[in-house]
């Protein structure tokens, strides 16, 4: 019995070895505050993007956990994002596998989609193997917002970095300040981050620490945030509390089943969302 367990663990570890950075279980090369400070420096020289559109109804596509490597499913998401009805694409972390070659592939791919307004925020896999050193020079800030400006008003989209398991005190303070200054002048507020706020049953993927969840919930209620969208768990889970919908998206990995992406329709009064299944390869 012991031999079977040992062999199973050995096989499991060897099969995952290319994807897992075990040393990261105890230490991140850059912690959340350090990445936030680097992001703020980036934001100082790269002002938040404002997308001006002529229609008050529009669509934003969200996906997560593409784990590039290969990108056949992500290509389908990019195709959907290229349609004129789509205003932006937001990818909620674990976009790559952390290796330099994953980032090379991703950067090359994104250079082919000039017509798409795409926005990334990193997940834990993007930080593996010192991945932040690859991510940051290529894609810039991990904590930022962009605005979609419509005739009926502006909507704000806030992307948060939870790649090392916490938002960190600096990012939380920034979020609180951003919400306080923006909420009275915008119609809708959507937050995207990699880690989950709620969870569906027992799980092996960790969410944000409970103290941070409580702070985030309080902010969502105070500023009537519309959506908090995340990935990480790889399995869809929708819930709502107060005025906020909390959505965990399916993954978009080529080597997993039941992939999908999320389409959110923003309008003058209400929002709605729908998942689009991606065919298994």
């Amino acid at each position: 019995m012991q031999k079977i367990i040992f062999l199973s663990i050995a096989v499991l570890l060897s099969s995952c070895a290319h994807d897992l950075d075990e040393a990261g279980a105890v230490h991140s090369k850059y912690n959340a505050n350090e990445r936030f400070e680097m992001s703020q420096e980036w934001n100082n020289t790269h002002p938040f993007q404002v997308i001006i559109i002529p229609d008050s109804n529009y669509t934003v596509i969200y996906c997560g956990d593409t784990h590039i490597g290969t990108y056949e499913k992500f290509s389908q998401v990019l195709m959907a994002a290229k349609t004129p009805a789509t205003t932006a694409l937001v990818v909620a972390g674990d976009i790559s596998r952390g290796h330099p070659e994953s980032f090379d592939t991703l950067e090359t791919l994104m250079n082919t989609v000039d017509s798409v307004n795409w926005f990334f925020t990193p997940g834990n896999h993007d930080l593996y193997f010192g991945g932040w050193d690859e991510y940051f020079p290529r894609f810039g800030a991990s904590s930022y917002y962009f605005v979609v400006s419509t005739p009926a008003g502006n909507d704000v989209f806030i992307n948060l970095d939870s790649g090392s398991g916490t938002l960190g005190n600096l990012q939380l303070d920034w979020l609180s300040g951003a919400l306080a200054s923006l909420h009275s002048s915008v119609r809708h507020i959507s937050i995207t981050t990699h880690l989950n706020v709620f969870k569906d049953g027992l799980g092996f993927t960790s969410g944000l620490p409970m103290e941070e969840v409580n702070v985030l919930l309080d902010l969502c209620a105070e500023y009537e945030v519309d959506y908090v969208i995340s990935g990480h768990d790889h399995n869809r889970y929708e819930s709502a509390l107060g005025t906020t919908k909390f959505i965990i998206m399916d993954q978009c990995r080529d080597d997993e089943e039941n992939s999908s992406y999320l389409e959110v329709h923003y309008g003058p009064d209400a929002n709605s969302h729908v998942f689009h299944a991606i065919e298994d390869l």
Binding site: G24, H232, A240
Partner: protein, 245 residues
């Protein structure tokens, strides 16, 4: 009406008799710490009286956030019950508790906790489940009356695994002891199962009825993500006073 009068007389008498025949225990402690939501630090104080009656222990508790409360000074309160039983010569304790945390003016966090505990000469073990419920406060319901009909007034997470495993240098009946452990709860606070905390504990029975203790807790964020960082720590110190034997 008569039966009500009888109840009004009998129940308090039963309670008094219960208290007199049972053992009163008071646990009091102070917690000082720092984490990513309270980077400037926090300080709280807690009181947990309980009565032990043969195999049952009934208790209640409250924690007051003296420094940097998130919402109110009354951080959390609880009521609980514990039942001892023997199974194959090993003593176990079944614990059930209800915790109420008004952490936001918009939300209340309710935790329904069930645990089973046992001890070996050098070890303490606990596994359990925490059902976490978030519900809107009265103020929030007033602000968003449609939440009731939309079903967004409450969020339930029924299954959250709880655990605590600790090893002690001396046998657990020794007057003083030092232990190391891992847990996702510290009694008033319940993490998800994937967010363990490491702790060390020193305890010293200074008299037959008074035990002093001190604990250090380290919180790590994102441990199960394999991309983790320091999240916070806290230090807890206090006493357990067994008032009557």
């Amino acid at each position: 009406m008569n039966s009500l009068k009888t109840l009004l007389i009998v129940v308090p008498l039963l309670l008094i008799a219960t208290v007199v025949s049972g053992q009163l225990q008071i646990e009091s402690f102070v917690t000082i710490g720092q984490n990513q939501t309270k980077s400037e630090g926090f300080l709280s104080t807690a009181l947990r009286p309980s009565y032990e009656l043969s195999n049952w222990t009934l208790g209640a508790g409250t924690e007051l956030a003296v420094l940097n409360p998130q919402n109110t000074v009354l951080d959390v309160w609880n009521v609980d019950a514990e039942r001892k039983f023997i199974l194959k010569k090993q003593e176990y304790k079944l614990y059930g508790g209800f915790f109420y945390r008004p952490f936001s003016e918009y939300f209340r966090e309710l935790n329904l906790v069930f645990e089973i505990k046992t001890e070996l000469p050098h070890w303490k073990f606990m596994v359990g489940n925490n059902s976490r419920l978030y519900r809107l406060s009265a103020k929030a319901l007033e602000q968003w009356p449609e939440a009731d009909s939309a079903g967004t007034n409450i969020k339930k997470e029924w299954r959250n695994l709880l655990y605590s495993f600790s090893f002690y240098l001396k046998t657990l009946d020794h007057p003083w002891n030092v232990g190391l452990g891992i847990s996702n709860t510290n009694g008033f606070f319940f993490n998800q199962e994937t967010t363990p905390m490491l702790f060390s504990r020193y305890e010293n029975k200074i008299t037959e009825s008074i035990q002093l203790f001190a604990e250090c807790w380290l919180q790590q964020a994102g441990f199960a993500n394999l991309q983790a960082q320091y999240y916070g720590f806290f230090v807890k110190g206090g006493l357990v006073w067994k008032c009557r034997k």
